[in-house]
Subunit: 290 residues, 2 copies
DNA sequence: TTCCTAGGGTCAGAAAAACTGAGTCGTCAT
DNA sequence: ATGACGACTCAGTTTTTCTGACCCTAGGAA
């Protein structure tokens, strides 16, 4: 014997993962976002699978995709399997680097809220290494290798502080702002992903005034804050993210009116971390640091 | 916001699979064989993982590898996860092609035992499609996408017939072979992977004679059989694989002495197939066809 | 209606991953 | 001491995976 023709390849793991994500999330785009690839890649993966199987896993409607009966039948098993794999990877990472805590958060939170606290946190727990990864969307903690997620979120569990917004500016500028109505002549800075902030605040501060903010829009909130400190205009501030500057006096709040949003800065993990473990200790410390 | 640096890639699935196989099987070569790649590929995968983790998973001894404490701690979870994934894939395949039975077997068995039975099997179960994949080593049915394995094996469960060996040759040649001792002048065909066959048989047929077979060695047993039918010499035959030719008269057994080996032709599956399902029906039919 | 948008699909080309093949080394068993 | 075994290395190649720019369709908004 001793003839070994290259074995028929089994189904590719990445394609299976793409199928699982697409099926679980109900769409190729959502799956692409979770996997960090383009939708076209997911399309290709699913098609690979369907071709190999000789059967359709999704019905394509122009408005999206829907699982076929076949897909629906096999999905739970795949979700469970990939959950198990994700858990195994997390175990592996934890065991391999027992003193490292991985935190996923928004870039703005990382720079404006987390970063100022790190020196004290390091001092309080010098044996724990903190790794911070910035991203736009909370990761799926069942899959991605993070111990803690820190994002704005409506859920109450693990809330560190409510999200409260109000205008802030450099002290020199505040002198020219006596009443909210003075804002119509000012440069009103805002953030692209939080574009409703000004309108939300104005609806409370100037009811019926149909206020339209005029000013630069930033794609990085931390940059908008920096510009505001430099006197570029009035920023619609988020309490948690401008608190340090207010305390320092770099920024001031020219008006009293503050608006509490339905969400808050929230810290959570997949399942409760082992009590007393590094992740647990970091979480408790951050929750107490508000 | 809206800045999305490419997410830090998670651990590559194929590398995890390589680790799992290497850890479970206790060596990189064994893992390479199961995965159908070269050992170098496994080496590279494991190193990728170890670099990403910053920790060793194996201790390299010159004589092989041994799991580190870390590797030992995480292995069971990975085995379970990949088992779950393999089961999910099998479910998927079964659901996608409910009437297809995938059989893994030796090339020689496929050609000389299975193939002659297929017409009758197809007639008996016309709605079932049979897919046969030839390979040198029984696959790990927990992982590879086969329903049934058909190999020579020592285990008694599922044995179809014992492996019995004895010389066979074309009828014209048999006239020149009166006693086993006449073999010393004959061309004795054999198979590379079953190179001990002649010695085993000779030890019983010619005790103390120190028989050394002389003749071509084949890497495909079916080819050796073909040559034997063509009169190229005397082959050490395996009952199951030459039975059809003996029945037809293409080959004859010049001597009475037959030697029963410790193994037999064995048909098995990972877990018992669903009673009455296609795999179960094919298995029963084959077992009854001896 | 007509636009706009949210999904998908397609394709060629590019990037990254995976793999091979041939050669090396160190030990164990013969 | 010699061969077998198991792992490692590395350059080069193959395969997989991904992107980017394009298209298409239907539903909802203007």
């Amino acid at each position: 014997m001793a003839v070994s023709p290259p074995r028929p390849k089994d189904l590719p793991l990445t394609a299976l993962r793409a199928f699982e994500a697409a099926a679980r999330l109900g769409g190729f785009s959502a799956a692409a976002a979770e996997l960090g690839v383009t939708p076209g890649a997911v399309t290709a993966h699913v098609k690979t699978l369907e071709t190999a199987l000789g059967a359709a896993l999704f019905d394509r409607t122009t408005r999206g995709v829907r699982l076929t009966a076949l897909g629906r039948r096999v999905l739970p098993e795949f979700v469970a399997a990939f959950d198990a794999l994700g858990a195994a990877v997390r175990t592996l990472r934890r065991e391999a680097a027992p003193r490292t805590v991985h935190i996923a958060t928004l870039p703005s939170i990382a720079q404006l809220w987390l970063s100022p606290r790190l020196p004290a946190l390091r001092a309080a727990a010098p044996e724990i290494a903190i790794s911070i990864t910035a991203m736009e969307t909370p990761p799926n903690l069942k899959r991605a290798p993070y111990d803690l997620s820190l994002f704005y979120d409506a859920a109450p569990a693990g809330r560190i502080e409510d999200d409260v917004i109000f205008p802030v500016c450099a002290p020199a500028l505040a002198a020219r702002l006596a009443r909210p109505e003075d804002l119509v002549d000012a440069s009103c800075l805002s953030d692209a992903t939080w574009s409703d902030d000004w309108a939300t605040w104005a609806a409370e501060a100037m009811p019926g005034a149909a206020f339209v903010p005029r000013g630069p829009v930033f794609s990085l909130y931390a940059l908008a804050v920096e510009e505001t400190v430099n006197g570029a205009g009035v920023l619609i501030g988020h309490q948690a993210l401008v608190a340090a500057h207010l305390r320092r006096g770099d920024l001031v709040a020219p008006f009293d009116r503050r608006v509490r949003l339905d969400r808050g800065l929230r810290l959570w993990s997949d399942r409760p971390p082992r009590p007393g473990g590094p992740a647990d200790r970091v979480a408790r410390w951050l929750e107490d640091s508000r």
